[in-house]
Symmetry: C2
Subunit: 396 residues, 2 copies
């Protein structure tokens, strides 16, 4: 018999996907260049040319089985070595390949990290606003995701609410900085306070509480903003990474789990991920992609366009009177809507071919997300639409 749980899930539409489909359909009517589609976080800049060159070279240099043969369970050994060396040098943490498990993007990394540290009935805490996919990611692990309400002043952590929600069942805290959807980067002070709080609670409860740090936007940080590397502040950290955004290869599905060498059971994490993988059907990202990325691991796409776009939108939103916290990174901005119901606000915006995502699924009502991974020229044209929208609908 068909599994009823998954069958039911197919009937719950994704708001973001529905908006993206709408944008594509609308594009067929008026030309997609005229749809100001801020719905999806799909990188708009090309891959680093070094990556394309690496793929070309691999196709020429490697034998068929070297390039396309099985990776060992934890990933291509060279890729793991290069990743460990890169992280060790950049962050001064003595990672070796034994701490690196290659995954199918950040989604694959999170799926493994969760299963390493939770069991049926446990809780994972995360902080609003948060990436809505975290819910289905956690649901299939047997644990429950609980969401700490936002600090809407700064979108840093709301520690009062956090401490109230901490309890003995909490085995992991999931953070995402630079943050989707707010674009905020957690300050060193925030990370330090989070680490201190968790260390105290670990003692009190007599068990580890892991930080699972989802860092796909680590390289997209704007002028003057330093992204603190979480594992430097807290031993029991599993870092989940994806090359989707930094190299503009979301379709190639490459990321990793990096176990902090000082975390509990540090040398067991990668072997455990291998076992988890046997049940999820994950079994390694594509060999050729692993090898190509390893050859240019310190390169990124030209990410500067995202900052350019952010500055245009931020200035305009402020000028129009929006309440908005300035993003420190990512390609998202998360302003307060001009009426309480963000869904109504975003629905009205469609009239102006502005595709905005209402914030409800991100765990904060009354806001909206713009994913500005679009051409700057389009961002500039969208300003006019935004002005008309605000004036005609809200009289500003």
């Amino acid at each position: 018999m068909i599994n009823q749980y998954f069958l039911e899930m197919t009937k719950a539409p994704s708001v973001i996907r529905a908006l993206s489909v709408y944008a594509t359909e609308r594009g067929k009517e008026i030309g997609y260049e005229n749809v100001f589609d801020y719905s999806l976080g799909n990188p708009s800049v090309p891959v680093p040319e070094e990556l394309t060159r690496a793929m070309d070279e691999l196709l020429k240099e490697k034998t068929s089985s070297e390039l396309h043969g099985y990776s060992p369970n934890p990933g291509n050994p060279e890729s793991r070595k290069v990743t460990a060396a890169y992280l060790a040098k950049k962050y001064g943490i003595p990672y070796t390949m034994d701490h690196i498990f290659m995954t199918s993007g950040a989604a694959g990394a999170l799926a493994h990290a969760f299963r390493c540290v939770v069991q049926e009935g446990d809780e994972i805490l995360t902080f609003a606003p948060y990436f809505p996919e975290y819910q289905p990611y956690v649901n299939q692990t047997g644990a429950t995701l609980k969401v700490v309400p936002a600090n809407t002043e700064t979108f840093q952590i709301n520690f009062a609410a956090f401490e109230e929600m901490l309890n003995e069942k909490v085995q992991a805290v999931l953070i995402n900085s630079p943050n989707n959807p707010s674009g905020i980067v957690y300050s060193e002070e925030t990370i330090q306070k989070l680490a201190d709080t968790l260390r105290a609670k670990e003692k009190e409860y007599g068990h580890e509480i892991f930080i699972i740090s989802d860092e796909p936007y680590r390289e997209i940080a704007f002028a003057g903003v330093e992204v603190p590397y979480v594992a430097k502040y807290y031993d029991n950290t599993l870092t989940c990474y994806s090359y989707s955004k930094s190299m503009s290869i979301p379709g190639e599905r490459l990321g990793y789990v990096a176990a902090n060498p000082t975390c509990k059971n540090a040398m067991d994490i990668v072997p455990m991920c291998c076992q988890i993988s046997r049940g999820t059907g994950h079994n390694c990202p594509a060999s050729m992609i692993q090898q190509a990325v390893a050859r240019c691991i310190d390169k990124t796409s030209d990410l500067s366009v995202y900052e350019t776009n952010m500055n245009i939108l931020y200035k305009e939103l402020v000028d129009l009177g929006f309440t908005v916290v300035k993003p420190g990174g990512t390609f998202y901005i998360f302003p307060k809507a001009l009426e309480d119901d963000a869904k109504v606000f975003c629905e009205k915006a469609k009239k102006y071919d502005l595709i905005l995502v209402p914030s409800d699924s991100f765990g904060v009502p009354g806001y909206f997300r713009m994913a500005y991974c679009v051409d700057t020229e389009k961002v500039e044209r969208s300003v006019e639409a935004l002005r008309r929208f605000v004036k005609e609908e809200y009289g500003r």
Copy 2:
């Protein structure tokens, strides 16, 4: 706290992997060319040249986001269309892209297919000898895998034992033909009888029983052997495929689930797989690999070497007095050991640098598997070692 279940799993060594590691280590001592390593099913022939050409062309022709951007959840639309058209033409079944879900190899396909049709507490039946990874694949779904004892005369299905084990909890039957490890192809008669039996039981129990057909070796069939396409015989069939063996790309992790258009909830299977994927962290195989394979879907590697190797080994094993069923496909052969304990037999073979896998983990004691995806020249040289082994250890 670290998950104890997965931590325990890391302590159970894999027999096949241990043998493969031993073979590699031994190779460092005497030269790997002198180790007759029949441990692993890693294809030995190069990818089709059309595949390499397709990758070259894609790198030149496609924009960065066309080639490396997100695939929609069920996979690249062109890949799904091409797959459906290929299967429709080849097997006369009206598949459309709506029936095709692209996966990370057969492991990914099986992980999704299982979750589509079982729920906590259900049973899946499979037939010995069977691929040992089926156990961890099923364990994480909440269902239980039960193994029907082998028909060791022919390695077709042992129907008497099968019918005894059928019960209302059985929601799926997992088959693998051509079979790893026996190399046997289920006859049309076997498939027909299996289908008839299940149809009767579906009526009796009042719920569907799906066949999950694991078919990574479908294209590796030897002279005169026709591999029946299971979905032609039974409506409620989910076909799980991988390009790992047919195109020699096991490291690239590409396969699919094909839902028979006549199966129950046929149009829900792909959307359900998308939902399942959100929890397992699967999220599509690599975009570039999907697109490259779609351009040469009707091509295979030169698979003839496997038949050449099989004929050499089969003749020699028969000459040496082994009880062995002649394989109809794959790159495996599964003879009876010359003593009751296959582990002892395989341990003795190591002295002759013959790396053979004892059958216990395949669900049949007293046999051994040889994976003859190795160079024919090496197979020929191994014959001498096999003769010495049998003569010196067993006096034959």
